[in-house]
Amino acid sequence: MSSVKKVTLKSSDGEIFEVEETVAMESQTIKGLIEDDCADNAIPLPNVTGHILSLVIQYCKEHTSSSDSNSSKSNEKLKAWDTQFINVDLNVLFDLIMAANYLNVKGLLDLTCQTVADMIKEKTPEQIRAMFNIVNDFTPEEEEEVRRENAWAFEISLKNNNVVDTFEVEESMAKELQTIKNMIEDNYTDSVIPLHNVTSDILELVIEDCKKHVEAAESESEPSYSLASKLIDDPLKA
């Protein structure tokens, strides 16, 4: 069908793409240019490389052809296609976010952002930092302040060998215990930390003591190291 209208897109690295107009119009940015009659020659896209542009075009192609029929077949198949499509490495994912934003392709923007959100969901801050290489530039005081302000959002659960009892404690408190501190810093992936050697009564006492230790540090009084260290360093047996 040679009568189908096409537009020419040029990537930042000089690659040329000829695309059907309806496909290109999935990008609101390009749509605007076409409607303003600015699309007779190749449309330069200085912010998008050829590799990324080809992916965006792929996405638009797949989503244009399915917008006509409304059957659930297309919706399910489309979702599966999207899942497959977005299975890319992190750098490509961010490039796609930027491109989808620049080209204003809503579906692709939502898909890529949802993917990043899914990576953040239910992870601890340490895990998130590790995943994206975010550098923690807070001073310890600043970090403590943020933690306090949003204390309700930061919880981890400690679980003892009696499965029923879980204790949710603030991370700063749990870090008082060197063992748990190491687990946290090593990005212990399970959100519930099992403590096989500790029964709930002992665990409760330890948590009480850690609380006192943390509160003492906050109120700037003499930290009661002696009691704390005795409990922390002694191996805890059932």
């Binding site: 990043v116 994206f132 290489n133 943020v146 302000e149 879980t166």
Partner: protein
């Protein structure tokens, strides 16, 4: 024990996520619940206040037995934070960072616990109903019913999605919802019998409507006359003596589940593409005819799902005069009663291309019991008067719940013999024991096929549902 060396290696790679502009980071955070978004405040100074820019608030609180335990109470009391505290605190802190309060576009509150306080819910809903709000999603079970401030809905001129579920009483608004496209009402209470109809008629651009209701009072009138409506899902549980009127010329997708015991009038559904009907048991007179009439109104569909009890009820119709379903290409039927009803349906669907039949293994209609194993019926119904769709159009036939019984094999055999254009015959069953499997497979493969290109597929695992 520590495996932290890999972390240091990664630091040479750039942190691309933090370098995204605020608007994009907020967009990412908008896909998280508020709690998950707040957690990001500790990532780095760049992230500290980003969560406050997200125009969504999303809170959920489900109480369970676990949460009644003394440990949990203890933890909450230590901070003095209850759920209400958290929501209020977040709301206040997020408004601190700008001169004008950050606009709230999306408010979702799921508060399903015994200690939920209607005063708090009232406060938050009122605070949320600003002209910026686009989505309001409430799922609440306060100890006293929450009187929804419907007049305030007049202020929420940009509201596009309204979802209400739980102990909520709704009054009809006095003005229109100029932007509302999606309305989802589940188990809410209506101040008057005609509140629902009034509410729906106030929505000039409504596209999606979901209604789930349990009958508590009689004389409820559900008038759904909406020229813009595209999808409609109705779940009527234990409802009788209701009046339902649907007039929706733009409707494409209809799902109905419940009892068709009230006065039902379906009109103007000529653009309907897909319908999914499942009915509950009811022993009122005429039930079969009512169901027949209901399905008859759906004659323009391309895809039809008939679940559970529908077939059994159709057995009881006095006359099987359904209109012709000219566009019907996909039919999924589910139930026990096969020979009585299926041929009638097939005769009414001349262009059927895909037939999925799921046999369920119970029989609570006595009349059908005798027919089930009577293979002469199969001969009569299918051989003598082969439905047009089978001989000229059927491309795919899927039999779910196949046990390899004689009459089942006969039925499958008849289809294979008469379906000239059949491409795929798929047989699924979790019910065949392994000793039988081999025999059944062999018998199936030996059946003669009219269509040269027909392939037979087997699926003998537990999960054998196949959607087209």
């Amino acid at each position: 024990m520590a495996k932290s060396t890999s972390k240091r290696e990664k630091q040479t790679v750039m942190d691309r996520v933090s370098n995204l502009p605020d608007s994009l980071l907020c967009h990412i955070l908008s896909f998280l619940t508020t709690k998950e978004a707040v957690v990001t405040s500790i990532l780095s100074s760049r992230w500290k206040t980003l969560w406050t820019l997200v125009p969504n608030l999303d809170f959920e609180m489900f109480s369970s037995d676990e949460e009644q335990s003394p440990n949990h109470q203890h933890q909450l009391n230590r901070y003095g934070f209850t759920f209400a505290h958290i929501v209020s605190r977040v709301w206040a802190l997020r408004n601190r960072s700008r001169n004008n309060a950050n606009t709230l576009k999306h408010f979702r509150l799921y508060w399903v616990s015994d200690d939920s306080d209607p005063i708090h819910v009232d406060t938050w809903v009122r605070a949320a109903l600003t002209p910026d709000l686009e989505v309001l999603d409430l799922y609440i079970f306060p100890p006293q019913r929450f009187e929804f401030p419907s007049t305030l809905l007049n202020d929420a001129k940009s509201l596009v999605v309204l979802k209400l579920n739980g102990e909520i009483v709704l009054n009809a608004p006095s003005f229109g919802f100029l932007s509302l496209k999606t309305l989802h009402l589940e188990n809410v209470w209506y101040a008057n019998p005609d509140t629902f109809s009034k509410l729906v008629s106030c929505c000039p651009v409504l596209q999606n409507l979901y209604l789930q209701t349990y009958a508590e009072e009689h004389d409820k009138f559900f008038k759904i006359i909406v020229p813009t409506l595209k999808t409609l899902e109705l779940r009527f549980f234990f409802n009788r003596d209701y009046k339902l009127e649907i007039n929706a010329p733009a409707l494409q997708d209809l799902r109905f589940s419940g009892s068709i015991s009230g006065d039902v009038l379906l009109e103007n559904l000529s653009n309907l593409v897909k319908a999914d009907v499942g009915v509950d048991f009811d022993d009122i007179e005429d039930y079969g005819n009512r169901i027949r009439d209901f399905i008859g109104a759906l004659s323009s569909v391309k895809s039809l799902h008939l679940n559970s009890y529908v077939k059994e009820c159709l057995c009881n119709t006095t006359e099987f005069d359904l209109p012709i379903f000219h566009n019907l290409a996909f039919l999924y039927i589910h139930g026990a009663c096969l020979w009585h009803v299926l041929p009638h349906l097939l005769h009414r669907a001349p262009n059927l291309a895909v037939l999925v039949f799921e046999k369920i293994w119970y029989k609570y209609i006595e009349c059908c019991k005798s027919y089930e194993e009577d293979s002469s019926i199969i001969e009569r119904r299918f051989y003598e008067d082969v439905p047009v769709c089978i001989s000229s159009h059927l491309k795919t036939f899927h039999f779910i719940g196949f046990k390899g019984l004689t009459y089942e094999l006969e039925f499958v055999g008849h289809i294979l013999k008469t379906a000239r254009f059949l491409k795929t015959m798929k047989v699924s069953s979790a019910y065949i024991d392994s000793k039988e499997k081999f025999r059944v497979l062999k018998e199936l493969l030996m059946l003669p096929r009219e269509s040269r290109t027909c392939q037979i597929a087997f699926n003998l695992s537990k999960h054998c549902i196949w959607f087209i």
